[in-house]
């Protein structure tokens, strides 16, 4: 009896996470005061966007059977580069929008560069992804703190810090950025040659190589994409906090990996979808926000999130028929 119920609940349908998500939303809307309000819905959305964007990058890397632990340090590095460019060295560039474009370009470039370092180390030098990104995480968060001596950059241009509250065609700018990133990521994965190559490399790099897939460059690009995504998220974080900070994003790693794992993307590579990660990120943010509204401390939330990720990993194994 119990087993069949469990089967139904955790069954093989890939929509399970969606159902759980929707169910959770309604339960919280009914029982938690302040959850089902317009202000809180905006909260949910704005908390979701940067996390989602980092998680999408991570999905790309995991599809290629890798992992990128350095996303947190990429967020930090790009944040201080952005903060630095916006506040000091580009002050001579007029008008302001050109300055902002230049600085955002510098942030994206930094993200891509760190991604390139990760990718080349993994693909060309054959180093284990886990160890590579672990050391680059230490290295670049150290570098960020060293470069700034723990000082934040502030006095960023008004139009930049007002970005989260600006709308274009009635859509708030951060939401627009999020939609564009999701759109591109979805398109790239579902409609292009690269989108076919990446999962095949992740699932079986030998088969892929023999079938003419450029395995090394495919892997390297996945890390570059991940770096760029982290940089975009960093733009949102930096604008939101109005500061370029070397410790920006230090605590998001669990949420990022959690989003991807809860979504159902396989840790062994080859299986994963952008829409799954969206669901995973939504779930993590909802969990976080609702527990927060219930007055639970940050630390209890941390524990619960850890447990939820274990659960999700078990569900994935169940889905893949590993039990």
């Amino acid at each position: 009896m119990i087993e069949s119920t469990a089967n139904k609940l955790l069954g093989k349908s890939e929509n399970t996470t969606v159902y759980v998500c929707v169910l959770y939303y309604f339960i919280m809307a009914i029982f938690v005061p302040g959850f089902f309000t317009i202000h809180n819905s905006w909260n949910l959305l704005f908390n979701l966007l940067p996390l989602l964007i980092v998680a999408i990058g991570q999905t790309y890397v995991m599809l290629g059977a890798g992992i990128d632990l350095s996303v947190t340090s990429i967020v930090a590095m790009t944040s201080i580069i952005g903060g630095y460019c916006l506040s000091d060295i580009t002050a001579f560039i007029e008008p302001v929008w050109l300055r902002i474009v230049f600085s955002l370009g510098a942030m994206l470039l930094t993200g891509a560069l760190i991604g390139l370092i990760n990718g080349v180390s993994v693909a060309k030098l054959g180093m284990p992804a886990f160890m590579v990104t672990l050391t680059t995480m230490m290295l670049f968060s150290g570098t960020a703190i060293w470069l700034t001596r723990s000082q934040n950059s502030y006095m960023l241009p008004e139009s930049f810090v007002n970005m989260p509250y600006t709308s274009l065609w009635f859509i708030p700018l951060p939401l627009l950025i999020g939609l564009v990133v999701v759109g591109i990521a979805y398109f790239l994965l579902n409609n292009t040659l690269y989108g076919e190559w990446l999962p095949s490399v992740g699932m079986n790099s030998k088969t892929a190589a023999i079938s003419g897939v450029k395995v090394q460059s495919t892997t390297i690009w996945s890390y570059i994409i991940c770096g760029c995504c982290a940089a975009v998220a960093s733009i949102l974080y930096t604008a939101r906090l109005e500061t370029g900070s070397p410790v920006m994003g230090q605590h998001i790693l669990l949420d990022v990996i959690g989003s991807v794992v809860i979504g159902g993307t396989s840790l062994f590579g080859g299986v994963g979808k952008i829409q799954w990660t969206v669901i995973g990120a939504v779930f993590i943010i909802m969990l976080d926000n609702s527990l927060n509204l219930m007055g639970m401390s940050y630390f209890l939330i941390m524990i619960i999130k850890g447990l939820v990720i274990l659960l999700a990993a078990m569900m994935n194994l169940l889905k893949e028929g590993k039990y």
Binding site: F130, F140, G142, L254, I309
Partner: protein, 324 residues
């Protein structure tokens, strides 16, 4: 193999020792205070906690696993022992109790890894957060100042040796003995080399996985106590990122992330000493402290790269041998 290739191979094999010597000589030249007896004792004492942690990690890495939760175990153990001692439990009661907590964490990790078959990385990442959350929850993020008696253990001496060094030596000797001279130890290497082959050869793979994670948890608990006895307080950042340092120390000492290769003596010990010497030396020569993580990170990155290159060349050599 040409002579040049042989020399490269030799350098690859002994890269850590070479690096260690380079570090010692460099700092020795930069500051006369570095290579004094006092400072060397200092390095040993400061590295004792990390080395013990890395010894536990070595066991796990040898089976091609990983344990990211050790830093959190250290923290939870620190908080609980702090709380217990502060409310008046005698230290000699608190110590065995928190060692059991370390073991419990190891048990949980092992359970999820070999029973539920979740990859060690995800399991220990989750317990990493659960542990830290638990510790922060219990401590309410407050720093806990420990009573004098705890510090006294840290600064006491046994047979003329400072206590942390005595404990370090003990763990070192036991760890080395277990790995090199018991059936279990040798089977750990077999499991790390090839789990399927080990199962075929009748090695009790599950029992071994369980035991290594238990050992790792226990070592984390001991390491925590050794650090506490020196610090005298548990802050919310206690043990943070120590798991990375422990992995780095083991890998620097020649333990392969692919399992089956490495040892505690001299490997892990040298790895840990190398890291500690760099940190100590940078302070002694009065370098800008912000650059520490950058230098440490670079050194670790290089060593991991060398490990991969070594692994690659070994793989190639093996392949040539077996085909013809």
């Amino acid at each position: 193999m040409t002579r040049f290739q042989k020399a490269i191979q030799l350098l690859l094999n002994y890269s850590t020792v070479v690096l260690f010597l380079v570090v010692l000589v460099t700092f020795g030249l930069l500051s006369p205070k570095f290579l004094t007896l006092g400072n060397i004792t200092n390095i040993l004492i400061q590295s004792s906690s990390l080395t013990i942690l890395a010894i536990g990690m070595t066991f796990v890495l040898l089976t091609a696993g990983i344990d990211l939760s050790v830093g959190s175990i250290m923290f939870v153990v620190g908080v609980i022992s702090g709380k217990l001692v502060v409310i008046g439990l005698p230290i000699w009661w608190a110590i065995p109790l928190v060692l059991v907590i370390g073991l419990l964490f190891g048990l949980v990790n092992a359970f999820f890894i070999f029973k539920l078959k979740i990859v060690p990385f995800i399991v220990t990442l989750a317990t990493f957060y659960v542990g830290r959350g638990l510790g922060l929850y219990i401590s309410e993020t407050r720093a806990i100042n420990l009573p004098e008696s705890f510090l006294q253990i840290g600064s006491s001496k046994l047979l003329g040796l400072p206590m942390p060094i005595v404990i370090l030596l003990l763990v070192l000797i036991i760890g080395h003995f277990v790995l090199s001279s018991t059936q279990f130890g040798r089977q750990v290497y077999a499991v790390g080399n090839d789990m399927a082959k080990a199962r075929k050869a009748g090695v009790p793979v599950k029992k071994i996985l369980l035991t290594v994670y238990l050992i790792c948890g226990l070592c984390a608990a001991i390491s925590s106590l050794v650090a506490l006895a020196q610090l005298g307080a548990v802050s919310p950042t206690f043990g943070y990122q120590n798991e990375f340092m422990a992995i780095a120390a083991a890998v620097l000492g020649g333990t392969s992330l692919f399992g089956g290769k490495g040892n505690i003596l001299p490997g892990t010990l040298i790895g840990a000493l190398l890291i500690q010497s760099i940190q100590n030396g940078l302070v002694i020569i009065n370098v800008n402290p912000y650059i520490y993580p950058v230098i440490t990170g670079t050194v670790i990155f290089l060593i991991v790269m060398i490990d991969s290159l070594r692994h690659k060349s070994v793989q190639k050599a093996l392949r040539t041998k077996t085909t013809i």
